[in-house]
């Protein structure tokens, strides 16, 4: 029985999925607030292989050879919520979030690694992340790092897709007859009139403790599934800063993406070679063994 043929085929499929994810990252190298995905591979369930013995009944019991996986697949696409660089645009409606939320556990501040996670007592802890909160078309909140905001005709602060941006009171932010260049947005997300200092509301910046639970919906927004933890407004101690006139660039690392793409391509090729070699084996079995 040739198991390896299907194993190699699953390898090709998995590498193609991985390549798709990488090329999607490359596509979004210029997308503000985009967070890169990386494919996590998982092997097929293990199975135990036995040696085939003579089945006469009085021989020794079949011996175990060991465990074998018969393939691999892309289990999940893990987003990396690492902070992107800030880019100065000088546009009053462009906002960037800078967040580096610290977590204190058992009196100790957890040190997160480059990818935003830490392992404490064998448990993976993700760094909480901050997001702008907008109202989706279905009335449920959506979370985004793409801070390109604008005003609708009625003066409602919206994303580029027209989704209303929510304020700290859970209601969309209305700026009535002001234009965005008359609005100053402070580091904590408070809006005020630039000329007379009158407060105009406060952006709702949500803190999400396990950002991997977020489901990407495209056009820069994420949604929390019903069974996930709740988003809470950021606290002062979280040190989340809103920067007006800046945009957060995509956190895709171009050179890493290039290397990953080459690896995926070559692994795909290697799996293809394995299939070809199985094919040759089969050819011998079918056409040459029986030849006299």
């Amino acid at each position: 029985m040739i198991r390896g043929l299907y194993t190699a085929a699953s390898g090709m499929l998995a590498q193609q999925r991985r390549h798709d994810a990488i090329s999607n990252n490359i596509s979004n190298m210029q997308t503000p607030g985009y967070k890169q995905d990386s494919a996590a591979l998982r092997s097929f369930p293990e199975m135990l292989i036995h040696l085939m013995e003579s089945g006469t009944g009085n021989g020794p019991a079949a011996r175990q050879i060991g465990a074998l996986n018969t393939g691999v697949f892309v289990d999940e696409l893990m987003p990396s919520f690492v902070q992107g660089d800030l880019m100065n645009t000088n546009q009053p409606g462009d906002l960037a979030l800078q967040s580096n939320i610290q977590v204190v556990m058992n009196g100790q501040t957890i040190v997160f690694d480059q990818s935003g996670k830490a392992v404490v007592d064998g448990e993976v802890i993700q760094q909480p992340q901050a997001f702008f909160t907008v109202l989706g078309a279905d009335g449920e909140p959506r979370y985004t790092r793409d801070g390109r905001f604008r005003l609708s005709e009625a003066g409602q602060l919206t994303t580029v897709n027209g989704e209303p941006v929510l304020g700290a009171n859970g209601q969309p932010i209305m700026l009535a007859d002001l234009s965005l260049d008359q609005v100053y947005i402070a580091d904590n997300g408070a809006l005020m009139n630039r000329t007379n200092g009158i407060a105009l509301g406060q952006l709702l910046i949500s803190r999400i403790d396990r950002p991997y639970e977020l489901i990407r919906e495209g056009h820069g927004s994420y949604r929390l599934p019903a069974d996930a933890g709740q988003a809470v407004p950021v606290a002062v101690a979280d040190q989340v800063v809103v920067r007006q006139g800046y945009l957060e660039r995509s956190n895709v690392d171009a050179s890493q993406a290039m290397v990953d793409m080459m690896t995926a391509l070559r692994l795909y090729e290697a799996n293809q070679k394995v299939i070809q070699s199985y094919d040759q084996t089969l050819e011998k079995a079918v056409n040459e063994i029986g030849r006299i």
Partner: protein, 291 residues
């Protein structure tokens, strides 16, 4: 079909549009009062691949289902209304606007064949707005003895009472910071010829460039007053707005930042093209499985 190729092709298209936009900005670096156009990108989600609940294995961090992206598209088009630098000239008809306001001009409407559309009283016109204050005089058949202030393309500029600014043919104009046009008549007295109508841009997001340095409001705007409001120099909405005679506003295109962006977009384009050809290689490999 290979998703790599689809998402790369989609993004190449978007990047090409962005390159066109940068090229247009650079080409208009010396157009007076030109406002640069800008846009950035947005990710496209094409599909969610469902996963069976038994795949919820220990150690899994994300929710079930693979969200597969389909590249990026251009989004958030806008006109950057940042003030351009004012350059002094010797022409009394060179006007520059300080602050976020525009002149109102009347342009004829043309049909698809390029013929002027006729209205109930003469050729039909529509109202558009411009910041380009390189005005000139034009003569009008129904205003003998007067010359009318028009844009460089000959479109009449509207005054506060929605009329034209007409001056006797031999007079010279003085225009003050509020746009009030005066001239000295034959007896040596100063006479007023009206005030230029200025519209403050309240929602820069909702105006669109219609070519010839003219702007119109987006078609989905309900009430014009929400987007552009008339500047009342006695009221608070005139703050920071002034008309400067003998000045012309230069374009607000910054060559250095356009070139930087050009480099970034071009490199992104190259990288996407590489991803596309890698996708092609993969399909080729699949085709060569059986030789």
């Amino acid at each position: 079909m290979n998703r790599t190729m689809i998402s790369s092709a989609v993004s190449l298209n978007a990047l090409q549009q962005k390159l066109d936009m940068i090229a247009n900005n650079i080409a208009n670096m010396n157009t007076s009062a030109y406002k640069r156009q800008e846009a950035s990108f947005q990710d496209v989600l094409t599909s969610t691949l469902n996963q069976h609940p038994h795949m919820e294995s220990p150690g899994r961090q994300t929710a079930l289902g693979l969200t597969v992206g389909g590249g990026s598209r251009l989004s958030g088009l806008r006109t950057d209304l940042t003030q351009g630098i004012l350059k002094q000239t010797n022409n009394p008809l060179d006007l520059a606007i300080e602050g976020q306001a525009m002149f109102e001009v009347e342009v004829p409407i043309f049909d698809a064949q390029g013929n002027p559309v006729q209205g109930p009283n003469g050729p039909a016109t529509e109202i558009v707005w411009t910041r380009s204050g390189n005005f000139q005089y034009s003569l009008m058949r129904d205003l003998p003895g007067y010359k009318v202030l028009t844009t460089a393309d000959g479109y009449p500029v509207r005054s506060v009472g929605d009329g034209y600014v007409a001056i006797p043919v031999h007079a010279q104009v003085q225009i003050d910071a509020t746009g009030t046009v005066t001239y000295t008549n034959e007896e040596g007295f100063t006479e007023s010829a009206g005030q230029l109508k200025l519209m403050r841009v309240v929602r820069p997001e909702l105006i669109t460039a219609v070519g010839d340095n003219l702007y119109n409001v987006s078609t989905d705007v309900q009430a014009l007053n929400n987007v552009l409001e008339q500047v009342d120099f006695a009221g608070p909405n005139s703050q920071g707005i002034a008309v400067r005679q003998f000045y012309t506003e230069q374009s607000n295109v910054d060559l250095a930042s356009e070139m930087t962006e050009l480099i970034m977009v071009q490199r992104a384009f190259q990288l996407n093209a590489r991803a596309l050809s890698a996708g092609d290689t993969m399909m080729n490999l699949a085709n060569q499985l059986r030789r």
